[in-house]
């Protein structure tokens, strides 16, 4: 009698525990090497520690904003945690599609006790944005295509110097970054770039500068384009995300080198969609607390050359998980690489993107 009772009680307990921890969550990310770094650095350790949890990936980050908006209109949000770039996080927050959160409450403090808010600092660019990494858009070039007797390009303005560095370039098919580089190389002081770019004259000035290389540019839309073009020798130099260039140079051992000058920093992180059930939200919060702590963010850098968004993680960045090379010199935030940088101006582009993009595309189509 006693035995059956205790058995029953035990079963009931197990059942309760089972339902509490068993969660299926859908995470959205970019696919490829980046998603793999997230999988290795935090999802696998988390699932190991929480056997009831299962996580499904959806590689839809590129169209996350549109998809979330459509899901919201249909009243059926099927995503639980979404990886987006900072600009998209700001828009999702603006549209009310991402949940505002309190960093103190939801994120782990640093090991030395520094609060999460201070540890992430300026990286929290929106009330909805949970930063993970800092990446940069920068240039790579073919070392074997540098003309003889000429120094390897180390200045952003070599992009516009067709005489010294003949050959085709690749640039992203959007105004962001390109307009800034064009103005900078047209003599505009770095701290005045956005003031100038806000005026129609400044926009024309930037387009005029881009006009000088228009016929020698292949315009890319996918991050994988420039690495492929570089590897095939289709272009001399091209812009893309620094992690993509890292894998061309280090992992694929192609004759390609980095040109860090005027790299544009941007952030990538999580947002939590609004309208999750309480149960789901608890599960997501638990994961986020784990996945954004100092060690986890530092671990991610072992798989991909993006800088952890926490200050406290930087000293913990070690070696590449497979190649065993020191990752620090490949980080965009490495002091040697970050002598001359630009930070993506979220406020400016939120306002001017539609307008300048229309002009940029019209210019492209001509």
């Amino acid at each position: 009698m006693k035995l059956t009772q205790s058995l029953l009680a035990g079963t009931a307990l197990a059942l309760v525990a089972g339902t509490a921890s068993a969660q299926d969550m859908t995470f959205v990310s970019w696919g490829g090497a980046y998603q793999m770094s997230q999988q290795k650095a935090y999802v696998e350790p988390y699932v190991e520690a929480n056997p009831g949890v299962s996580i499904t990936w959806d590689e839809s980050s590129a169209e996350a904003v549109a998809r979330l908006r459509a899901m919201n209109e249909a009243g059926n949000i099927t995503w639980d945690l979404v990886d987006v770039v900072a600009a998209d996080a700001i828009r999702l927050c603006d549209e009310g599609l991402a949940m505002e959160y309190d960093p103190e409450d939801m994120l782990a403090p640093a090991d030395d006790g520094t609060s999460a808010e201070d540890d992430f600092g300026d990286m929290i660019v929106s009330d909805c944005f949970i930063p993970q990494i800092a990446y940069s858009t920068t240039f790579g070039y073919r070392t074997d295509m540098v003309p003889e007797g000429v120094d390897a390009p180390s200045d952003i303005c070599s992009i516009f110097d067709l005489e010294t560095y003949p050959g085709r370039r690749s640039l992203e098919r959007r105004p962001i970054n390109n307009m800034e580089w064009a103005l900078y190389c047209d003599g505009v002081a770095k701290d005045e770039i956005y003031d100038v770019l806000a005026t129609p004259e400044g926009q024309d000035q930037a387009l005029a500068k881009l006009d000088t290389i228009k016929d020698d540019v292949i315009w890319w839309t996918a991050g994988a384009d420039t690495p492929q073009l570089l590897a095939d020798g289709e272009i001399f130099m091209g812009s893309t995300y620094n992690g993509r260039l890292f894998s061309v140079i280090v992992e694929q051992d192609q004759p390609v080198a980095m040109m860090w000058d005027m790299q544009v920093f941007d952030l990538d992180g999580w947002i939590i969609p609004t309208g999750l059930s309480d149960e789901k939200l608890e599960a997501v919060k638990d994961f986020v607390y784990f996945a954004t702590d100092t060690q986890r963010l530092a671990d991610q850098a072992a798989y991909i050359s993006y800088g952890p968004a926490r200050q406290s993680s930087a000293p913990l960045v070690g070696e590449h998980a497979e190649l065993g090379i020191d990752m620090a010199p490949h980080m965009p935030t490495n002091p040697e690489n970050a002598e001359n940088t630009l930070l993506y101006n979220y406020e400016f582009w939120a306002d001017y993107r539609d307008d300048i993009d229309a002009k940029f595309q019209a210019w492209l189509a001509q």
Binding site: A62, I218, D351, Y352, D354, A365
Partner: protein, 553 residues
């Protein structure tokens, strides 16, 4: 009975007119048939017709402006933008309370995004102002609470606003509707508050702001109104009302507190000035341009998206062309049409001989060839397009062969990708089966005896083909062309990958506006125009060739 109805209508056996009886029998049959196809019909309606209708609706829909700023847009109607002066204080006052509720509902940034399509900078203007709205009321709140603690108590406020006499339930209904429009949802539930008529007359702005607060608290936060402290905006309203209110006739709840508050505010606070507040938030608020834009786009429906889609714009001064450097869509429409026609033509030129071979080879060889034709369908579109990249790029297979043959100089390799040529080649390859299959099925139906007959009548091979075979294969060309053209005109992945600067289609811009700029209204307008162009061409085709001349099989 038959006598009396001899001249009337024919009757059925039961005496009802035959016609009605027949109709009833037929109707029952039709109804049964309809029931049978009903699931499919509903499926088609839901999945096919409804999205198109939704797209057409979105291309003109513009409720967001009047839903978010209902009072402000109403007051703004009287303002004349041509004076070059910003609107008066009453507009800023209305804006303050509209924006306050919108900010609480997090809808003001959505409106900012919407208006930013028309006027650059509105996005951040709305976002930053939304954060500062509380500051105005907070100033008066501090003064009032310092003077009397009760001003910080939700219960006191509730008692004051509810009063003792008649209450105005209509105002609550109006504000509930206002919130429903903002949230785009039906809100049910009891607000648990109605302002007294007396207070409403005495303190109109306070009542307005407090009702917004009450409705939002009860319906959105699902809290009890009496237990919550009112928003800062309510204090701004009170400050404004007390500047002029004559409290002498009022003896309801909190009468003495109101009198004291009027006294305190008159002594300690600056008179409220909404214009100055907004100007201090951002000086753009006193720019007449921004108000002219809001005024222009305050109607529920707008042709603005369609105008944008044809490189025009709706400005306060009427419709005008976009400046030279910003015209994009007409170029893209023309390019899309031109390239789709070129692709269709190339498909005819390449597909016709293949289809002819298919139709005339012995069955075993024809089957093999058919597999080769269908093979592209079995590989992913991305793979096929990327394969063309490898073939056509400057360091690609074709250029390598040409250089090796000495036909092309190594320094002057041909540019065959990331331009129109590359797009046309890749898309012709991808769409070719859609030309070959209908052509093949039509050609299979042309007996070889026609060609023999023509030859026996004295026609040369060419005449026999051109005058006898070709005209009979035209329905296949028609069907194939319609398929290929319609597919081509809406294509987007291939031009995106290999189109470069000059080979992109209008659909690439539609995709951009759907997924990146989120300007769905413009995307819908572009899509609607594309749909109209296709329908127009279809109509023209029907007129010229005749649609019964199209055979898909």
């Amino acid at each position: 009975m038959s006598d009396t109805t001899q001249n009337g209508p024919m009757l059925a056996a039961d005496g009802t007119p035959l016609k009605r009886s027949l109709n009833r029998a037929l109707r029952r049959q039709k109804l049964r048939a309809l029931m049978l196809i009903a699931p499919l019909l509903i499926f088609v309606l839901v999945t096919f017709i409804a999205p198109i209708a939704d797209m057409l609706f979105r291309s003109v829909e513009n409720q967001i402006v009047s839903d978010t700023l209902p009072t402000a847009t109403e007051v703004l109607e009287d303002w004349d933008h041509t004076t070059g002066a910003p609107p008066g204080e009453e507009v800023y006052q209305a804006l303050y309370y509209d924006l306050y509720l919108a900010a609480e509902a997090r809808a003001h940034t959505r409106l900012g995004t919407r208006l930013n399509y028309e006027y650059t900078g509105v996005s951040s203007l709305f976002r930053s102002t939304g954060r500062g709205l509380e500051d105005l009321g907070e100033e008066y709140q501090d003064i009032l609470e310092d003077a009397d603690d009760r001003w910080g108590e939700g219960a006191f406020w509730y008692e004051l606003m509810t009063g003792t006499g008649d209450t105005d339930a209509r105002l609550v209904r109006e504000h509930r509707a206002r919130l429903q429009a903002l949230e785009n949802a039906r809100l049910t539930g009891d607000v648990g508050f109605a302002p007294s008529v007396e207070i409403k007359e005495l303190l109109p702005q306070t009542t307005f702001a407090y009702t917004d607060f009450a409705v939002f608290t009860a319906l959105m936060d699902e809290d009890v109104v009496a237990e919550e402290d009112p928003w800062e905006g309510v204090y701004a309203g009170l400050a404004q009302d007390l500047e002029t209110a004559d409290l002498s006739g009022y003896d309801g709840p909190g009468a003495e507190a109101l009198v004291a508050a009027q006294q305190t505010l008159a002594e300690q606070a600056e008179p409220i000035n909404y214009t100055a507040f907004f100007e201090s938030e951002d000086k753009d608020w006193v720019s007449p341009d921004i108000w002219a834009t809001i005024q222009t786009y305050s109607s529920t429906y707008t042709g603005g998206y369609f105008l944008n889609a044809v490189d025009m714009q709706l400005t306060p001064d009427g419709i005008e062309m976009r400046p030279d450097g910003q015209r994009l869509y007409m170029v893209l429409f023309q390019r899309t049409l031109f390239m789709s026609l070129t692709i269709t033509l190339s498909c005819i030129l390449l597909g016709y001989p293949v289809a002819w071979l298919l139709a005339n080879l012995p069955a075993s060889k024809a089957n093999l060839l058919m597999i080769l034709v269908l093979l592209p369908f079995w590989t992913s579109l991305l793979v096929r397009t990327s394969a063309w990249k490898v073939m056509l790029q400057q360091q690609g297979v074709i250029n390598d062969v040409l250089v090796w043959l000495g036909l092309v100089d190594d320094a002057a390799r041909l540019v065959m990708i990331n331009n129109q040529f590359g797009t046309i080649v890749a898309m012709t390859h991808i769409l070719l089966p859609f030309m070959i299959l209908p052509l093949y099925s039509v050609m299979q139906g042309i007996p070889p005896s026609y060609l023999r007959a023509a030859k026996s009548l004295g026609a040369t091979n060419w005449t026999a083909f051109w005058r006898v075979y070709f005209p009979q294969s035209v329905p296949g060309i028609g069907a194939g062309s319609i398929l290929v053209f319609i597919l081509a005109i809406g294509y987007y992945i291939t031009p995106e990958i290999v189109g470069g600067r000059t080979g992109t289609f209008i659909s690439n811009r539609i995709a951009y506006h759907i997924s990146t700029s989120l300007n769905w209204g413009l995307a819908a307008a572009l899509g609607a125009i594309l749909l109209a162009v296709v329908l127009l061409l279809y109509w023209a085709y029907d007129r010229i060739v005749g649609i019964d001349n199209v055979k898909l099989g």
